[in-house]
Symmetry: C2
Subunit: 243 residues, 2 copies
DNA sequence: CGCCAGGTTGATTTCGCTCAAGCAATGTGG
DNA sequence: CCACATTGCTTGAGCGAAATCAACCTGGCG
């Protein structure tokens, strides 16, 4: 579990520097100084927007606490939550590196802390640290693998299986283990967003949730989900793979 | 349109060096020599595999002629065609850079020419040319944007609209303009693969094709597609966006 | 208190999946 | 050259799933 830095408000954000997920860890002194100078920390309330699709890029952001949703919109009001970013993740780096406007929006899905690193600082950092570019490359490749997995699932799994898979992913990051072996999640997203992630309508998500309830594999109450046996839930998908 | 290098069989592959799509263009002399030494050209017949999912990576490949399909498989025999690679595209670089086994398979979708660049050569090239890493980064980012677009469409468009969109993409690269304004495509893929790209079953693709025929917006005959008016076809999707 | 956003539920229709049959093109071995 | 299998595609019937449209509920919140 990555550490939030809400306890270090007065200090430099540790997560962005040393978090193993972060591209910024393990920089030399001059680079660290450069980073410290160009970074500005800010707290976001639930629903607050970090950057907006279409807006011109003005540097990158690094999540240091909370959860940030990356969303794509179209002119018809359709909204798809493409991915979730957690402490240590750098976001908005794609439009920075390609010098284009933001292709997605980012918003805090709960109280969050996000640092902004300005254009000049990163440009200087990249010029002085070739390794930094490679780390961005690895991160980008990781996201690409993730997207390919997603595309594959979208094409092969049923809606129910896709929702189950999503729950299994969320439980890893947001799950609280209970004494009796069950786990609970505080969903960071609305039903509509769940629906967009599964690729269906929110009414359908409601109904699938109903079926999961009657099957006893998950219990939903608002954004609270309790899963009696994560193994049983995972079995729904593994069965497909091993069958 | 990118040039195939089938006419330069005895020479070094030009596309890989100077193609604007290629990450290898515009290298200095020593780098070019390094590249020339580590590269081996090979022709592939239709259906021949370039590399196989699960196999250990042994360098990268650069498409220099034809079309190569990037495919993901699972244990149940499900197959999804994730993307198409064209002359100038470098493939298999992700597993190379992350030092892992191939996460996808690549196969020639028609007579193709693909160069292989061995491990040692790229490692040396990357070490000596920081710019090369950045080019891989940009390419990776481009693929990621593409994957996000795909995810968005999968979640918002109907199967018919997804197929129409796919046809519009294919016509750009494979289309032959006819004198009366219509365009023809030689589809590089089977109906099953079309289905996997749209995220549905091949029977459904057959039926959608039937409807496109009766609506007169496209005519299918085997892998030959004729589109009387690409604009009319594009209108099916634009209507959604502007509506 | 009324309003509103988010969520659930219901009724209806459309759509897509499954299973199954049929068909054309291709290849193969006798 | 033919019988035969194979592969890729199409078509049909039946059924289950999901989209749509609509009503309604619930918990904030001005």
């Amino acid at each position: 579990m990555a550490q939030s830095c809400t306890k270090h408000e007065n200090h430099a954000c540790v997560v962005c520097h040393v978090g193993p997920r972060s591209v910024w860890h393990d920089l030399d002194e001059t680079a660290s100084a450069l980073l410290a100078g160009g970074r500005r920390r800010r707290e976001y309330g639930s629903g607050e927007v970090v950057f907006v699709q279409g807006e011109q890029n003005d540097g990158v952001h690094c999540v240091s606490g909370g959860t940030v949703g990356i969303r794509r919109l179209d002119d018809n009001g359709n909204s798809v939550l493409l991915e979730l970013a957690y402490p240590g993740d750098t976001i908005g780096y794609r439009s920075f590196l390609t010098g284009s406007e933001h292709k997605t929006s980012a918003e805090a899905l709960g109280p969050s802390v996000v640092c902004h690193i300005d254009r000049a600082a990163i440009t200087a950092l990249l010029a002085g640290n070739p390794a930094l570019g490679l780390r961005f490359l690895k991160r980008s490749i990781g996201e690409l693998e993730h997207a390919h997995d997603m595309m594959f699932r979208q094409a092969t799994l049923s809606n129910r299986h896709k929702l189950v898979h999503l729950l299994l992913v969320l439980v890893q990051r947001h799950g609280r283990r209970h004494s009796n072996g069950s786990q609970s999640i505080d969903l960071p997203v609305s039903r509509r967003d769940l629906a967009s992630m599964v690729g269906t309508r929110h009414e359908t998500i409601s109904r699938i949730i109903g079926r999961l309830e009657t099957d006893g594999v998950a219990h939903f109450s608002g954004r609270q989900v309790t899963i009696p046996s994560v193994e049983a839930l995972a079995g729904e998908i593994d069965r497909l793979i091993s069958a």
